[in-house]
């Protein structure tokens, strides 16, 4: 038993998007306190100032290479909030497909490249499932990524067709999309999505997507796991390992989930310790108490970004967003809980703060729900009808907010225009929520809370359980600070 905690500074964290450092205070083999540092600042909110309004459509996506489309959609929606275009149905369908394509690709990328390789680490060599984990999930040559990375690449042909390329497209405009789909392209889109469905149903789930989406609770999930041998699908193998490693008991977050809603498919709202309420972006503030930023707590519509690298209380470039002054978690688990999916609600009923297990399950559940929706949207496209409303002329003044659900959670762009130019631009990204520092009241951010109590064993320089918790959030650090 140690009387004083030891301090461990962990980094660089790879297989997260961008730069992350975590400082851990450890006592008796567990984390007592964690401080999360986003150590990269690029200044996008400063770069956007003074630019012509629509330049945000070029600049904002370049905040992030993995959620580039989400940044585009948020920027386009912020402009649309001022221009009020009459977006044609085709424009909404195509934009939904582009965004869902990114969300789905990101969920798969997270599972196969970022999260699962840790299950094949040498430290688990004594576990009964280790040989299977090596075969499927090893970072260098695991069969899961070996099979599904090419499937992802071919799925991204959807981006080539609808958005020209990925990442960093200019196809998403306030009035719709720049690329119309003709009758032949509609068939090609159906082929692309069908091929991806087949890859997921063969390798990831070893089940029809609809069977995964229909899992209505923890008992159904357990029954599904037991219905076939452990290596029948990478999702099933993950669930076996998660049970053995106690992932359901690891990484409990704040238990307040936020979603701005997506596609008209996932409802918006807030879910706090079993109590639902509406989501109102006007109740968001950003606190700078422990950020290397000047200024106090303000709503993003009035927020400012002025770096203060020598601020003694600071330990990260990340600001601390709060809803009604409280910490919240965003992401696929939040979306599925808020939407009311029975499996997600059942998971949260068992553990109000969620867990490593719950976050991974919700992400793959959402993947299984997204692909059938994409098929419906492609079918609904009507070639020959418009895809984009003409841009509105002369909108020069005003404030607006563009909200979107990126793969990893709620993203908001708060835009203010003066004289047709950007006079203020504030971005609150999903991982800004999840990886925020302490606020002025000393409340730790969502990951900081989730890390408390995580095992950190003697001799571990980069505790593997800490890595599981961190990666369970699918952090995007480049969005976090931007």
């Amino acid at each position: 038993m140690t009387a004083t905690p030891t301090r461990l500074i962990v980094g660089p964290f790879n297989r997260v998007e961008g730069d992350l450092e975590v400082t851990l205070d450890i006592r008796d083999g567990a984390v007592t306190e964690a401080r999360v540092n986003a150590p990269l600042y690029r200044g996008f909110e400063q770069i956007l100032l003074g630019r012509p309004a629509a330049d945000s459509l070029v600049i904002a996506p370049r905040i992030c290479g993995i959620c580039s489309v989400s940044q585009s959609v948020a920027a386009a929606r912020a402009l649309a909030g001022l221009e009020r275009p009459d977006i044609p149905a085709n424009g909404t369908l195509a934009a939904n497909l582009i965004l869902a394509g990114e969300n789905a690709a990101d969920h798969l990328t997270h599972f196969m490249l970022f999260f699962a390789p840790d299950l094949a680490r040498e430290c688990y060599a004594a576990r009964p499932w280790f040989a299977a984990a090596r075969r499927r999930f090893a970072a260098s040559d695991g069969a899961c990524a070996g099979t599904l990375l090419p499937a992802r690449a071919r799925f991204l042909h959807l981006m080539g067709l609808l958005a020209g390329k990925w990442p960093h497209s200019l196809a998403l405009q306030p009035g719709g999309v720049t690329k119309a789909v003709d009758a032949g392209e509609k068939i090609r889109l159906l082929s692309i999505v069908a091929e991806f469905r087949e890859a997921l149903e063969t390798h990831l789930f070893a089940a029809p997507l609809e069977a995964i989406a229909a899992l209505e609770g923890t008992a159904a999930l357990e029954a599904w796991v037991e219905a076939a041998p452990p290596e029948q699908g990478d999702f099933r193998l993950f669930l076996h390992i998660a049970r053995d490693l106690g992932f359901a008991g690891l990484g409990h977050g704040p238990g307040r989930f936020v979603s701005s809603g997506s596609f008209g498919l996932f409802a918006p709202g807030v879910w706090s310790q079993g109590v639902p309420s509406d989501f109102d972006p006007a109740r968001i503030t950003e606190d700078h108490a422990h950020s290397w930023m000047e200024g106090g707590t303000l709503p993003p519509s009035a927020g400012q970004t002025r770096p203060a690298p020598d601020k003694p209380e600071g330990y990260t470039w990340c600001k601390a967003p709060r809803l009604d002054g409280q910490v919240a978690e965003v992401g696929a688990l939040a979306r599925q809980v808020v939407d009311g999916h029975p499996l997600a609600r059942a998971l949260i009923a068992a553990r109000p703060g969620g867990s490593v297990h719950d976050r991974v399950v919700a992400r793959l559940l959402e993947l299984a729900r997204l692909i059938p929706a994409m098929e419906r949207w492609v079918h609904a496209i009507r070639p020959g009808e418009p895809f984009c409303a003409p841009p509105a002329a002369g909108i020069a003044e005003g404030g607006s907010v563009g909200l979107v659900e990126a793969a990893r959670g709620t993203l908001g762009h708060w835009l203010t225009l003066q004289g047709g130019h950007i006079s203020n631009y504030q971005i609150v990204a999903p991982t800004t929520w999840n990886f925020s520092p302490r606020d002025a009241q000393g409340n730790p951010g969502a990951l900081e809370q989730a890390l408390a109590g995580t095992p950190a064993l003697p001799g571990e320089t980069t505790p593997v359980a800490v890595q599981h918790v961190v990666r369970s959030f699918d952090p995007c650090m480049v969005c976090t600070v931007h």
Binding site: R42, G146, P167, V177
Partner: protein, 341 residues
Amino acid sequence: MAASPPPSDTFNVLWLQAASCGGCTMSALAADDTGLRRALERFGIRLLWHPSLSEESGAEALAVLEDCAAGRVRLDCLCVEGSVLLGPGGSGRFQMLSGSGKPMKDWIARLAARARHVVAVGSCAAFGGMPAAGHNPTDARGLHYSGWDLGGALGKGFRSTSGLPVVNIAGCAPHPGWIVETLAALALGGVSAEQLDALGRPRAYADHLAHHGCGRNEFYEFKASAARPSDRGCLMENLGCRATQAPGDCNIRRWNGYGSCTDGGYACINCTSPAFETPSGPFQETAKVAGIPVGLPVDMPKAWFVALAALSKSATPQRVRANAHADHVIVPPARRPQKLP
């Protein structure tokens, strides 16, 4: 614990993300529809460490970097994605390499001194890119260039131990083929200074223009121009397209299987060139003087452009004119029996 030393016959690549969005890696992951690692392995290329693909994290990852910096592991190629941040005040503190207590700029300088080749992946690492836009709040630089000027983070006279300058795979994001083909050419040992253009870009793609092979070619020929987003017409006259000036084989090869910027319906923003991030006007509007675009097709005398544009506009078929202002084909090409000689 460091990773086991690589076999002596591999071409060892270390990949770092400086001030990047990660988009170059995301583009590269789709390489050849098979994935970056497999696409590179075919050429004997081994990734010593990559931020998205390697198992090693934390202390294990730092050990890999330290082994390379100390010369214990042969570093054939250092790939840097993202601009190098010198600020604030030259300290580099806008990007500290996690867990190391040192700025990323210092790690890059140490590793670049050991590397046989240094490759800038993307326009940020090449020229500064988007973080250098406007008043450049973080003092962002490319490795070798700062915008159009020599004098990036590694200094004007930098040469890697092979004698080559930094190889600039410019693009935002670059095509995965540009990345794989450049690294493969380096691994095969066939790259000389003559194969790079004046700004260090591989001529294999930079000797082309994004305009070459553009699917809007007929509209360009007749100056039948798009007026608003989703129009099928040429994007040069009104909507800011710089493809006639932009280095790249963007329309000769496909992006993500099917696309390109212009096929996607939007302007080329010349993302392979220095300072693309700070145009003189809005990105999606063509700057003009007296109705003539300021940025004319490269190598084209202005008087000829004006004369030919006037002539081709007067000769525009009705079909081309109608389709230029629609998002789908309104008037199909005429169908007549072929005349026999």
